[in-house]
C-alpha cells in the first residue's frame, strides 16, 4: 500500500476512487429503489456526447457533459410529463439520439483523440489534481443536497403520490433526483468511463438492498461496498496491470453474487 502512495498519480487515483465510489453508491440507493437504471444509462451516454463536444470546441469537457446530462434529463422529463408518454421509450429515443450526436461529433473531429478513450472506458490513474478539485466540489454539492433534502427525497422515492398529497412538491424533487444522478455521472465518467459508470451506481446499492430491509442501513452499506470495491479494484489493477474500471466492476459483481447468496440462505 505504501508503495502505491509514493506516486502522485496513484494518490490522486485513490482519492478519486473514494470520491466516486462514495457519491455513486449514495445516489445508487435512489436509482435502485426508484428503478432509474435505464435513465442513468441514458444520461451516461448523453454526458459522453457532451465530453466529445467539449473536445471538439476546445472547452472543458466537464462543462459540456453537465450540459448534455441536463438536456437528457430535461428531454425525458418534458416528454413523459403528465403521463404524455411512457418513460421507457422516451429514454430509448433520446439515449440513441445522444449517442448519435457523440458519434457525429467524433466524426467532425477528423483527428483521433486518445483522451476520448479514457472517457469511454475510464482511466482513474489519469485523473489530475484539477479534475479532483472539480470532482470534490461537485461531490460535496451532490452529497450536501442529499443531506439537506434527505426526508423529501426519501418520501418521493417511496411514495410520490402520497408525498404530493401531503404537500411536498414531488415533481420538483423527482427532477432533483435525476439532476443529482446526472451530476454524479459527470463526476465519475473520467474515472470509470461512460460504459461502466452505471455499474458503480447500481451494484453497491443492490448489494445493500439484498442485506437489509431498513433504508438507513442501506445508506450505510451501499457506500461501504462502493468505496471498498473502488479501492480494492484500483490496487488490484495496479499490481496486476489491469484496466481499473473493469476490475472495480468485476469485484462489485462478485460482492453482489455473495450478498444474493447470503439473502437466499437467510
Amino acid at each position: 500500500m505504501s508503495e502505491i502512495l509514493q506516486y502522485d498519480f496513484m494518490r490522486h487515483a485513490l482519492m478519486a476512487a473514494v470520491l466516486v465510489g462514495g457519491v455513486c453508491s449514495i445516489i445508487g440507493v435512489y436509482v435502485v429503489l426508484k428503478g432509474l437504471s435505464f435513465i442513468g444509462d441514458g444520461v451516461a451516454h448523453a454526458s459522453f456526447g457532451g465530453v466529445v463536444l467539449g473536445f471538439l470546441l476546445g472547452i472543458n469537457p466537464l462543462i459540456t457533459s453537465v450540459l448534455f446530462a441536463f438536456i437528457m434529463v430535461g428531454l425525458v422529463s418534458i416528454f413523459t410529463g403528465k403521463g404524455k408518454m411512457k418513460t421507457d421509450p422516451a429514454i430509448g429515443v433520446f439515449f440513441s439520439f445522444m449517442m448519435a450526436l457523440a458519434i457525429l461529433f467524433i466524426g467532425l473531429m477528423r483527428s483521433y483523440n486518445a483522451e476520448l478513450y479514457s472517457y469511454l472506458f475510464g482511466s482513474i490513474i489519469s485523473v489530475t489534481a484539477t479534475d479532483l478539485l472539480i470532482m470534490l466540489a461537485l461531490g460535496i454539492l451532490v452529497l450536501g443536497t442529499v443531506a439537506v433534502f434527505f426526508k423529501e427525497l426519501l418520501y418521493v422515492t417511496f411514495d410520490p403520490e402520497m408525498a404530493l398529497a401531503s404537500g411536498i412538491r414531488a415533481g420538483h424533487f423527482n427532477f432533483l433526483i435525476l439532476a443529482l444522478l446526472g451530476l454524479t455521472i459527470v463526476i465519475s465518467i473520467k474515472s470509470v468511463g461512460m460504459i461502466l459508470v452505471l455499474a458503480l451506481i447500481v451494484i453497491p446499492a443492490s448489494c445493500a438492498h439484498q442485506l437489509t430491509r431498513n433504508i438507513k442501513t442501506m445508506f450505510i452499506l451501499s457506500p461501504l461496498f462502493g468505496i471498498a470495491a473502488s479501492i480494492g479494484g484500483l490496487c488490484l489493477s495496479y499490481y496486476f496491470d489491469l484496466p481499473s474500471g473493469a476490475t472495480i466492476v468485476i469485484i462489485l459483481t462478485f460482492i453482489f453474487i455473495l450478498t444474493a447468496l447470503k439473502r437466499k440462505r437467510r
Partner: protein
Amino acid sequence: MEPVIQIKKLNASYNSEVALQDINMEIYKGEFIGILGPNGSGKTTLLKAVLGLISPAQGEIRLFGGPVDSAARKRMGYVPQKGSIDLTFPVRVFDAVMMGRYPLMGLFRYPSRSDRIVVEEVLKGVDAWHLKDKPIGELSGGEAQRVWIARALVSDPEILLLDEPTTGLDVMSQGQIIDLVHRIHEGKGLTVLYVTHEVNNVSCYLDKVAYLKKTLYAYGHPNDVIKVETLREVYAGEVEVIQGVDRPLVVVGDHCHV
C-alpha cells in the same frame, strides 16, 4: 357555516377518460361521508381531485374556503388504495409512519423528539406500536392498513380521506378498520371521506352517503339515500334493499335471489 370541502360543477378525467361529470357536493366539518358506487364509477378520481393529485377539467374544488394548494394538503390525511404502495421498499413501520410528519417539519429539519412522541402515540392509538420495527413488507393486510392510517394521522389532519381501506381484508380485520375509523372520527371530530364498496358494515356510522357513477346519483343521509330505485340506477338493476332493524341493508348482485 362554510363547508370544509366545496365541489362545484366538477368535471374530471382519469387516464384520458371522463371519470366525473358535473359533481356538486358540500361537506361540512366533522361529517363522516361514505362514497359508494360500482368499479370505475369515479370514486378514487373524486378523492384524487380533492387532494389535488389530478386537476379538474372544469369546475372548482375549494378546501377550507381556499384553493387546493400545498397548504391545504398539509391539513389532509390520505390513505391510498391497496396496491399503490411499494411493499418491497426497505423501510420499517416507524420510519414509514414518520414520513407522514415530513411535510410539517419544513426543509433542512430532521425528526425531533416531539415528532417521535407523536408517531409513538398515534401508532399506539391504532394498536400498531408492537409493529414499529417490522419492515413494511412483512405486515398482514389489516396491520398494513392500520399503519397507513397512522401515517395519515401523524400530521394531525382535519380531513381524513380513505380509499377502500377494507378491500381484500377478512371480515374480522374489516370490522377492526371500520371501528378504528369510527373511533378516530368521534374522538378527534375529523371530517372523513370514506370510499368503499361495502355499505352495510359502515352505514350506521355515516352522516351522509354519496352514490357515484360518473355523476352524483344521490347524496344525503343513509336512510334517505339507500333506496332501491336509486341503487338500481347506480348498479344497473342487480340490487335489493332489505329493511334491517335500524337501517336499510343493501344486497348487490345477489344472483340466487334475482
